[in-house]
Each structure stands twice: as structure tokens, then as C-alpha cells.
């Protein structure tokens, strides 16, 4: 159906529209409250201190999560920024560190242990217990089979050269010390962190 407007109605409508809009322009209209501030997104967030995972500089970061750790809440990190109290970075971050949030929320992030067995082309999800048992079993078998007690000159060396350990670069001194002690006490030689990979 077409809207039927006679010439006279059209003029009336036009005149009414013009009159009301000019009234508004001349100030006969309620002025809306035209000021606002932006909502601050961190109010009430839980702040957790952490370290950036990327390189061995180990900048301090603050993780802001939704939820106050009450029993019915699963926390969710929604903002990351530098920790101004951290002696290394004092609040600043590099572009990778400044984008940590998308790293934490990434779809391709590894969230649980997985195994790809020999001959298989698929990753299978396993439990943490299974993962620890499996790693321990493999380490023990490999060490028993390949441990070197003496070199060709008859010196006692106690080397285990067939397995390596990749540790975290952003550890504290204490963690680094303990990791070192554990790994070296097994005789392991190949030992590095992800910052050099």
C-alpha cells in the first residue's frame, strides 16, 4: 500500500517539521546532560603479581582478573600491565609483554598435558598424573641405558647426555638454583631455557 499524502498535508508536515526543529535550534528544547566519563575497567579487579613468560629479562607484570576468589567464582584474567614495583622493568613492557593478554586468552594455548606417541600423528590429552609417571619412566629408562660413569681416560664423569631439560627463563634466583640442583644432580648436561630457543 502506498502512503497517500495530499499536497496540502505535505506542506503542513514540512511546516511543522521546520517549526519544531527551529524551536529546538533556538534553545526551546531540553538540553541533555552532555558530559560523561569513561568507565574504568579495573575497579574491583583482583591483582596478581607475576612475571612475563617471554624472555630472560623477566619483566614484572600485574594480572587483573574478574572475580574476588569467592567460592562460586572462576577467575578470568582480562587485563595485564607492567608492575611498577618490579626492579627490572619498573612498569614498562615490550610489545610482546604489552600483548600478554591475548597470549593468555589464545585459542592455541596449551592448557593441559598432551602426548604424541611414537608412530602416531595425533596429540592425545592425558592427566597430570599420567604425564608425570610417563616422564619419570622415560627419564629413568633412558638414564639407566645411557648413563656415562667414566670417560676414555678413566676419569669419573657421571654424565647423562641423551636427555635435555628446558626450564623457564623468568624464574626467580631461588627457583633457578633449585632447578639447577635437581637437573645437575641427575648428571644432565643439556640444560637451557626458552629465551634462547
Amino acid at each position: 500500500m502506498t502512503l497517500r499524502v495530499t499536497r496540502r498535508q505535505f506542506f503542513k508536515l514540512g511546516a511543522a517539521g521546520m517549526a519544531t526543529s527551529s524551536m529546538a535550534m533556538m534553545g526551546f528544547a531540553p538540553e541533555p546532560a552532555v558530559a560523561s566519563i569513561r568507565h574504568f575497567k579495573l575497579t574491583g579487579a583482583k591483582i596478581t603479581r607475576s612475571n612475563c613468560t617471554y624472555c630472560s629479562v623477566g619483566c614484572g607484570v600485574l594480572l587483573y582478573s574478574r572475580g574476588d576468589a569467592a567460592i562460586n567464582v572462576v577467575d578470568d584474567i582480562y587485563h595485564v600491565e607492567g608492575d611498577p614495583d618490579h626492579p627490572v622493568s619498573r612498569g614498562s613492557l615490550c610489545p610482546k609483554g604489552a600483548g600478554l593478554l591475548d597470549y593468555i586468552q589464545s585459542d592455541s594455548r596449551l592448557r593441559y598435558p598432551q602426548v604424541r606417541e611414537p608412530g602416531s600423528d595425533e596429540w592425545r590429552r592425558i592427566s597430570w598424573d599420567e604425564a608425570f609417571d610417563r616422564i619419570a619412566r622415560h627419564m629413568k629408562d633412558d638414564r639407566d641405558a645411557n648413563f656415562v660413569t667414566d670417560d676414555e681416560d678413566g676419569n669419573s664423569v657421571n654424565r647423562w647426555t641423551t636427555t635435555g631439560m628446558l626450564a623457564a627463563s623468568a624464574s626467580t634466583n631461588e627457583t633457578a638454583y633449585l632447578t639447577h640442583k635437581v637437573v645437575r644432580s641427575l648428571g644432565m648436561v643439556a640444560f637451557d631455557n626458552q629465551a634462547r630457543v
Binding site: 517549526a19 534553545g27 552532555v34 560523561s36 566519563i37 568507565h39 579495573l42 614498562s92 613492557l93
Partner: protein, 309 residues
């Protein structure tokens, strides 16, 4: 409510409204300034990432265009970009001039002058110029009003977007996200006085290092900006990806807001009033019997045409 919230700090200027802004609490609010020291920038773009993270912006992943600029220009989803320029000095040395480009937060904002939507652009007492999307009508006048070509109109919601100098953070006692992230101290933040002072210190340092024309970019044409640069070649700001030498609000904006608009408003008002007075004194227009008959004939013909299949 259209998203209006309580005004915690003082608004000193609002677009397209004659209503006076509250003036009573203007004391004690320090003007803030962001200082960008181009000579210390390494172009890492941590500021760009921090900006996107804080403002919940994730621009489309673009293509490598053969230069470090990425993205190539500001977009509604990218409120700041690093602009890379290669410059050869008199001795033939290569200088990499990297300028962080974002809203300059002018003391006399061209966008606010040009904006026709009441309250869509506001200026706070601390100097920050902010867009209020709730009131934005997407006309794009702010784009033509801006002497630095900063605002961008979104294709998704047809509203204008630009850097807010993290007004939300600043109101809550924090520095802007870009400032905090900067690993070289190239971006600094503080009161206007402190930053102008620091800019002078950096300028004299650069002069001591052989940059005789080092200086502060705080253009007078827009009454100073709340984002200022320290430039190695302050005599030629054009070297830094066409930073305008003497930015001014376009005279067209003044003509439209200063003369044309009030005159036109008055003209429309007078004609409406005249029409009303005429209606009251002379009454509606009388039509002769011939006219009425012609209209009825027309109507009948029209109806006949519609009824035909």
C-alpha cells in the same frame, strides 16, 4: 540515559551547545601532558599494543607493505600508529625518525569546534579532549576540523574514534597505557608544567649532542597541545611524516560555526515565525471550487490506476 555518567571532573568545553559548563570546581585540577621524545624512541610499538589492549581494540591483521609502519594509518580500531621516516642529514648520516602519531589533545580543539552534535566532543579541565560516542552522529565534521587528521569514522557503527589519552585511567589516578608501557622512557606523562620543563631539559641535552635545531613541538596555532614532542629537527617538523609546521583550525570551521550557522538558525526561525503569524492573522489558504474538483479528479484517477492489476 544514553550512557551519560556522573561527571567526576570538570568539563570546560562541549561541542555544539551554548549551555555554560560547570565552572565552580575548576580549581585544583592540574592540566596533564604527554611528552613524546622522538629522539629516545626505538620504534618497538609497545605503546601501540598497550593502547589496543587497554581500549579493547583488535584491528584486522593487515599485510606487510614493505615498511615498518603497521598498520599504515590510523583506523577506528587503531588510535595510534608509529610513523617511520628515513632522513639523511647534512653529513650524509642516516637518521631514523620515528614518530608516535595520535591525538594531540589541542587546547583549542578543531574537532570540538566543528562538531554539530551537542556533547559528542568534550574537553576536560585537565586538558583531555574526549569523544562521547553516545552523542556522536557520525557526520565526520571532526575529521575535517582536525588539523592533525586524527579522528576516524567507523564503518561498523558510523561513529568517530580517536585516542582518549586514556581519560578513564587519568581520572582514576593512573598514567595512559602507552606511557606506562614505554621501555625507553620516550613517552613521559605528568602535569603540563613538569612536562614542558622536562622537554626543555631534553632539548638542551640534544643541542649539546649536536642537534642544533632540537626543540619542543607545542604549536601555538591551536593554543598549545596536551601531547607535545621533543624533535631533533624542530625547525622542520615536516620531516616527521608531515607533522604540520603551523597547525590551525580550518577557516571553514570558523565560518560555519561562527557566522553561517547562527545566521541560518535565525533565518529559519524568522520564516517559521512569519508563517505562524500569517496563519493566525490571515488564516489558511482558501482554494477555489475548481481546485478542489481538480484534486478530487486526480484522486479518483490515482485510485483507478492502483486497482488495476
Amino acid at each position: 540515559m544514553r550512557g551519560d555518567q556522573i561527571n567526576l571532573q570538570n568539563v570546560i568545553a562541549r561541542s555544539a551547545t551554548q549551555e555554560p559548563s560547570p565552572q565552580e570546581r575548576s580549581g585544583g585540577v592540574e592540566r596533564v601532558t604527554k611528552l613524546i621524545d622522538v629522539s629516545r624512541c626505538i620504534g618497538c610499538k609497545a605503546c601501540q599494543v598497550a593502547c589496543a589492549e587497554w581500549n579493547d581494540l583488535r584491528d584486522e591483521v593487515g599485510n606487510n607493505e614493505g615498511v615498518y609502519d603497521n598498520p599504515l594509518d590510523l583506523t577506528p580500531d587503531t588510535w595510534q600508529v608509529m610513523r617511520f621516516d628515513e632522513h639523511e642529514d647534512e653529513q650524509g648520516n642516516l637518521e631514523w625518525l620515528i614518530r608516535k602519531d595520535n591525538c594531540m589533545h589541542c587546547a583549542e580543539p578543531g574537532c570540538l569546534e566543528a562538531c554539530p552534535a551537542p556533547g559528542a566532543i568534550v574537553q576536560y579541565a585537565n586538558g583531555i579532549v574526549d569523544f562521547n560516542s553516545e552523542h556522536c552522529i557520525g557526520c565526520g565534521y571532526c575529521v575535517s576540523g582536525c588539523p592533525f587528521d586524527v579522528p576516524r569514522i567507523s564503518k561498523k557503527d558510523h561513529k568517530a574514534y580517536k585516542c582518549t589519552l586514556c581519560s578513564d585511567r587519568v581520572f582514576h589516578g593512573l598514567e595512559p597505557a602507552c606511557v606506562k608501557s614505554c621501555p625507553t622512557g620516550s613517552i613521559m606523562f605528568g602535569t603540563r608544567e613538569e612536562m614542558l620543563d622536562l622537554a626543555e631539559t631534553r632539548t638542551s641535552f640534544l643541542k649539546g649532542r649536536g642537534f642544533d635545531n632540537a626543540g619542543v613541538y607545542n604549536p601555538e596555532g591551536v593554543d598549545g597541545t596536551h601531547v607535545i614532542y621533543v624533535l631533533q629537527h624542530a625547525d622542520r617538523p615536516g620531516l616527521y611524516s608531515h607533522l604540520p609546521e603551523d597547525p590551525r583550525i580550518s577557516p571553514l570551521v570558523d565560518a560555519w560555526k561562527g557566522v553561517t550557522k547562527p545566521l541560518a538558525s535565525v533565518a529559519i526561525g524568522i520564516s517559521a515565525l512569519t508563517g505562524f503569524v500569517h496563519y493566525v492573522t490571515a488564516g489558511p489558504k482558501e482554494h477555489g471550487e475548481e481546485d478542489e474538483a481538480a484534486v478530487r479528479e486526480d484522486d479518483a484517477r490515482e485510485r483507478e490506476r492502483e486497482e488495476r492489476p
